[in-house]
């Protein structure tokens, strides 16, 4: 059965249109961030800038508090993800490898926790944090981000641990390893890709989190990058070049991580049901 010429062309044509449609906003962000202001505020858009400039990145980086906020974002995200990996590792090992009473219930708890509507609970969280006199501190943010990414981390890691053949571990134990040693020397090295994929999604969630930091940390020096980016436009008005440069700076770490880890991640992702 030979397809007609049209039948061969239309899927490719549609694919090109779709690819352009999806990529365009991302392209336009880079495009605007990199062209001189004269090319941004024009009657007709400049689709392909003739010369590039980093002046907007300069403006963005020199905005007040920028480096403080970068440090805040990195601290909160990395600590939250690292802690949740640590906690998840032991929990998911138990779920994947052991049989005990209440196992189903435990999995269910994490599945429900994964769907927790954090966005809607910010008022209560604000009250709790205020009562503890911890507003404008990075500690509550870190803790809540850790709990936010924990269920998914556990559910994904569990799949990776279950995928490591049990015989490997058993033979290590026959050879005289203790259970802890067997875990450290046999399972852990095999888990590296799983750990990377899992931490990617934790990283994205924590890096992106917006409502909670918006309400908890009102002081400039205690905020994170999403709030900065959200208020950037308010602060800089129509300086779209600088605003897009700021967006680029914020998006770049995630875009790079994602392109590197995507292939591995999709498998883990579809089994854990997440969105970046």
């Amino acid at each position: 059965m030979k397809r007609s010429r049209l039948g061969r062309i239309w899927p490719n044509a549609t694919a090109i249109v779709l690819a352009i449609g999806f990529v365009f906003p991302v392209y336009w962000m880079f495009n605007t961030a990199l062209k001189p202001t004269g090319d941004i505020l024009t009657e007709d858009p400049v689709w392909f800038p003739s010369h590039l400039t980093f002046e907007h990145f300069d403006t963005a980086i020199n905005a007040p508090n920028f480096w403080t906020l970068v440090r805040n974002s990195l601290t909160v995200t990395i600590v939250a993800v690292a802690l949740s990996l640590l906690i998840a590792l032991s929990a998911s090992f138990a779920i994947a490898r052991m049989r005990f009473k209440g196992r189903r219930g435990v999995i269910l708890v994490f599945m429900i926790a994964q769907m927790a509507p954090w966005e809607v609970m910010v008022i209560a969280i604000y009250m709790l944090v205020r009562d503890a006199d911890m507003l404008n501190s990075l500690v509550p943010l870190t803790i809540f981000y850790m709990v936010m990414v924990l269920p998914l981390t556990i559910l994904t890691l569990r799949n990776y641990i279950a995928a490591v053949p049990k015989e490997l571990e058993e033979s290590a134990m026959v050879d005289g390893c203790s259970r802890v040693q067997a875990f450290r020397k046999v399972i852990f090295p095999l888990l590296a890709p799983g750990l990377m994929a899992t931490s990617l999604f934790g990283f994205i969630t924590a890096w992106n989190e917006f409502p909670m930091v918006l309400i908890l940390n009102k002081e400039d020096h205690a905020q994170t990058l999403p709030v900065w980016l959200y208020s950037f436009q308010t602060n800089f008005g129509n300086d779209w070049g600088a605003t897009m440069a700021a967006s680029t700076l914020f998006a770049l770490p995630i875009l790079i991580l994602f392109l590197f880890l995507q292939r591995r991640a999709v498998g883990g992702l579809t089994s854990g049901a997440v969105k970046g």
């Binding site: 138990a94 209560a124 134990m173």
Partner: protein, 328 residues
């Protein structure tokens, strides 16, 4: 939500720690007790932090919803319990029900668009040659990876009243009244931008997973269908669709939950403008509670929203668990 619906190893793993322990003996007994407790010890930190830092705000939310807390009470740290007054007031107000109706329509439109477009793209990916497929996949991955707040900022620029590329394009296409159009000036156009943004962000995940699901369909099924004289549409309804149906069903629910509680996109694009006409339930709770400092009222609206989400979630989990009995 994995798509391998026919996983063979459905039986739960047998415990490792049972292997080769001689019965009796004090050491062995101690060992057995330790092994019995070990899983709980390993789970303790995870369960503890989840129950404390998720459960506690949840309880606090319920507690707040029964109080009258406005600016004054907040500053003076007064506690005034008013029973179910907040709920009564919310449920009796016309505004609340308008927001509920709006949230449902908003969620419905978004989810239908996301699912239809993703399914079409997923199927298209399966038909493409390698080069085109990788190109489209790359475009989807880039979109997917865009952080939410960065994407909302970019959309504000795309739809900017002056110098925005969308207005320019519409003007050039002959729709001259759009040349200086203010997109968040009307309810419909503001929702249009928000919907476009959410659909654009959500499609890649569904489309790529759906494509991954179709690659697990055995080729023989299509061959058999072709032998039976099935055309493109027939082989879709007879082979592809039954295979991806469970996936579609579960994902639809997941998207309903995600879209229903979408906050940053709406908050950053319109902030509820114009005239609070683009507030959905989460935004409404946020604006009432935090913005207008009616914390008790906000908590009551949150509580109602959480109730809706919990119902949706329990349905979703039932679907997922039915699909993968081996999950538990």
């Amino acid at each position: 939500m994995s798509v391998q619906t026919e996983r063979a190893d459905a039986a739960p793993e047998t415990a490792v720690h049972k292997s080769g322990e001689p019965p009796g003996g004090l050491d062995a007994k101690r060992q057995r007790i330790r092994d019995n407790f070990l899983p709980y010890v390993l789970l303790l930190p995870a369960l503890a932090v989840t129950l404390v830092f998720l459960g506690w705000p949840m309880v606090k939310n319920g507690d707040l919803s029964l109080q009258n807390i406005n600016r004054r009470q907040l500053i003076l740290r007064l506690t005034e319990y008013t029973g179910f007054d907040n709920f009564e007031e919310a449920l009796k107000s016309e505004q609340f029900w308008r927001v509920v109706g709006r949230s449902i329509v908003f969620t419905g439109v978004n989810v239908i668009l996301i699912m239809v477009i993703s399914t079409l793209i997923g199927l298209l990916l399966a038909r493409l040659g390698k080069t085109m497929r990788v190109t489209l996949q790359l475009a989807l991955v880039l979109t997917w990876a865009m952080p939410i707040i960065a994407a909302t900022t970019v959309y504000q620029w795309l739809f900017a009243q002056r110098f925005g590329v969308v207005n320019w394009t519409l003007d050039k296409l002959g729709w001259h009244s759009m040349a200086d159009y203010n997109w968040i000036g009307s309810q419909f156009s503001a929702f249009f931008v928000i919907t476009l943004l959410i659909v654009w962000q959500s499609v890649p995940f569904v489309a790529l997973s759906l494509y991954a699901a179709t690659t697990t369909i055995p080729g023989e099924l299509y061959e058999a269908a072709a032998l039976d004289g099935a055309g493109g549409w027939k082989s879709f309804t007879a082979v592809t669709f039954p295979f991806i149906k469970p996936f579609l069903f579960a994902t639809t629910f997941l998207e309903v939950i995600w879209v229903f509680k979408a906050l940053p996109q709406i908050y950053a694009i319109s902030g509820g403008a114009p005239d609070r006409l683009t507030e959905t339930l989460p935004i409404y709770a946020f604006v009432e509670g935090v913005g207008n400092q009616h914390f008790g009222m906000g908590a009551a609206i949150s509580m109602l929203t959480i109730l809706v989400l919990l119902t949706l979630t329990s349905y979703y989990l039932r679907i997922v668990l039915k699909q993968e009995r081996d999950e538990l």
